[in-house]
Symmetry: C2
Subunit: 390 residues, 2 copies
């Protein structure tokens, strides 16, 4: 096991009516004037916005609003948000929505006290150690940004999708009310499920030896997703399935499952090109990329993939030929993703075979070659992984 | 799933040489004058004390010492510690040791700013919301107190062993260096393993339905313990096994595995009489009580015990008679505990059959009848559970 640090000081309110605590929590964590940052406006239809505003009003906390944080959130809105916060003396940002609203809020929070261009953090990867405090009100189980120190933004000049991270970005509090996710469509729900599974897999496929505790926690989250996802796809109003998935989404990404081990993140890196350039949902992109990445790197550690197959998917171990078991695990993941309506190929996303060289080239404009991880990936490897997704 | 709150803002430094950060962390969390609180003095033989003191000195932080926090820590030392802290203007307590030193430090931390008798908290169970900040340097994987808001103290007047809890008791930071646990004896190690397993089981046996995510996390921690414990018992110096067990011990008890579900804690309640009156190790007492409690409550929910048997112990499900599977799981736990050298009967602890009525009577002097949990337990039930441990 590797040495590590783990610090996850987010206060979680989970369950029905948990929005009631928002005003009190904003005050507890030092907010006196709030920016509510949200997405396309669905929160104004499903009642979430009203509950948030009622709690702030009851606590006597003034607030402003900034909407339009869209999927694959863009730099332009971040710049507007930073300007607004500075002008209005905002000292707390409340993100209401999914990973897009939260990641956009985090970027604004980092930008306000920073003298330079907020994009510096995303371009260079330097840790963000100063930001306005933020809280979140989660409306989709997916990104895990409600409990993570991470943020991913797409820069409109060149459509580079890059991540930044830092202790200051961990939300002070997060409100998780599974009821708020019951109005999501089947497709949105499935995209979230895929993202959660990917967050675990990016940690699971590691070169670090002797990491039984985090292996087992990863497997536990994955088995939960396998068990609960069909329930919620069959009945989008299933509160308990929504609740299990919502908490699994947090556990999958606050790093309790990832400490002490090298992590991968190359399915994410390779996917980001797809969602940035074709503006598809991140989860849909991951559904295409992740099994292809697995097929490509399988021989790097057949036993780890066999473990994935046996422990997560319940496959029988083929002791005379573990590779068959390893391949079966990947196939089972592929079948699972198809069963919840997720795409399988680049074509399903609107990409074409001839786009592949440009996709790989664009990736390495923003990132250094090779991509480090479970296996180092050079441009030729990334192209091959895209080809496996045709 | 039940609604819940989860807030675990402890900063963990895990790994070799992690003591180096102590001085800096004390400063970060506001300490300017430290009380180092420890147990019987083993930390002065195994190098831990020297590393702690070196880090405080390097950071220029003055400190005093209070030793002798023994297993099943007593109220007398807590009163002395409170007096010392007040007299000397101590503003941070650093517990160096296992659960006993940490729980004793928590009680002192709670008592310093409190006008009344610190025991009020333990007697009444009222939440502790004000305390001096504490940090921990863990030397045995067991109690999970390094990441929990809980403390258990034995009052010398009457030998009542009671717990208190509160957000203010969560350590600000905890230093987990698995090397520091490599000097423990096989018996101490096994007692710690038993305590960790019990912390998960107290959460696992629940009446709350649809809690797949926490079920799976509980199972993951238990499977880790089953996998790693024989390694460490075979080689007490096995760093990686020690590391897995040490992190599992934290995960088992910071409540990430217990949120959203009713919990039990009656094996602990019933055990506390044994460790308070016979002064045996808490883990040894649990090894006797826990399987007996399981046998007694088995019929309350046979399927849950069958799930425990199949998912945790890998038993084959007997579909025509699940009770056989359920019983097999309890037997497997019993065999596992014996395999690591833990006692099986009250006699092994020095108790006699004729002590049982007095044990049960003493329990209900400090606690209300019935004990609530997976099954409500009246005095006759507690006596029956002790009898099953003969």
């Amino acid at each position: 096991m590797n040495d590590f640090r783990f610090y996850a000081p987010t206060y979680f309110c989970f369950g029905r009516e948990s929005e009631k605590d928002i005003g009190e929590l904003v005050r507890r964590f030092g907010g006196t004037k709030v920016l509510i940052h949200y997405g396309g406006g669905s929160i104004k239809q499903n009642g979430v916005y009203d509950r948030v505003v009622a709690s702030l009003r009851e606590a006597g906390i003034p607030f402003m609003e900034l909407g339009n944080a869209l999927p694959n959130p863009r730099s332009g809105l971040v710049y507007s948000g930073i300007e607004l916060c500075r002008k209005e003396g905002i000292d707390f940002i409340l993100a209401v929505g999914g990973g897009s609203a939260i990641d956009s809020a985090k970027a604004i929070a980092a930008g306000v006290p920073y003298d330079g261009d907020f994009w510096d953090y995303y371009k260079t990867g330097k840790p963000i150690d100063s930001a306005l405090p933020i809280g979140t009100v989660l409306t989709i189980a997916a990104a895990g940004s409600e409990g993570s120190p991470d943020s991913v933004i797409t820069h409109e000049s060149g459509m580079y999708k890059c991540g930044a991270s830092g202790e200051a970005l961990r939300p002070k509090f997060s409100i998780l009310n599974p009821e708020s996710t019951c109005t999501l469509s089947a497709y949105q729900t499935a995209c979230g499920i895929t993202d959660i599974i990917a967050h675990v897999c990016e940690r699971y496929f590691t070169n670090t030896k002797n990491v039984e505790i985090t292996d087992r926690l990863c497997e536990g989250v994955l088995k939960t997703m396998i068990e609960e996802s069909p329930k919620v796809m069959a009945n989008l109003q299933d509160y308990d399935a929504r609740a299990n998935i919502m908490w699994a989404g947090m556990v999958a990404h606050n790093n309790i499952c990832g400490v002490g081990r090298d992590q991968d993140w190359n399915s994410h890196n390779i996917e980001h090109e797809l969602s940035a350039l074709y503006d598809v949902a991140h989860g849909a992109g991951l559904s295409v990329v992740m099994p292809s990445w697995m097929k490509y790197v399988l021989h790097h550690d057949i036993n780890r993939f066999a473990q994935f197959a046996v422990r997560v998917w319940g496959c029988d171990m083929n002791f005379s030929n573990p590779e068959i078991t390893a391949e079966e695990g990947i196939l089972r993941l592929r079948q699972f993703l198809s069963s919840i309506g997720m795409p399988a190929t680049l074509f399903d996303l609107g990409a074409k075979e001839e786009d592949i060289p440009a996709l790989a080239a664009h990736l390495f404009e923003a990132k250094q070659e090779p991509l480090h991880g479970f296996m180092d990936l050079y441009r030729k490897d990334v192209e091959a992984i895209y080809r496996l997704a045709l």
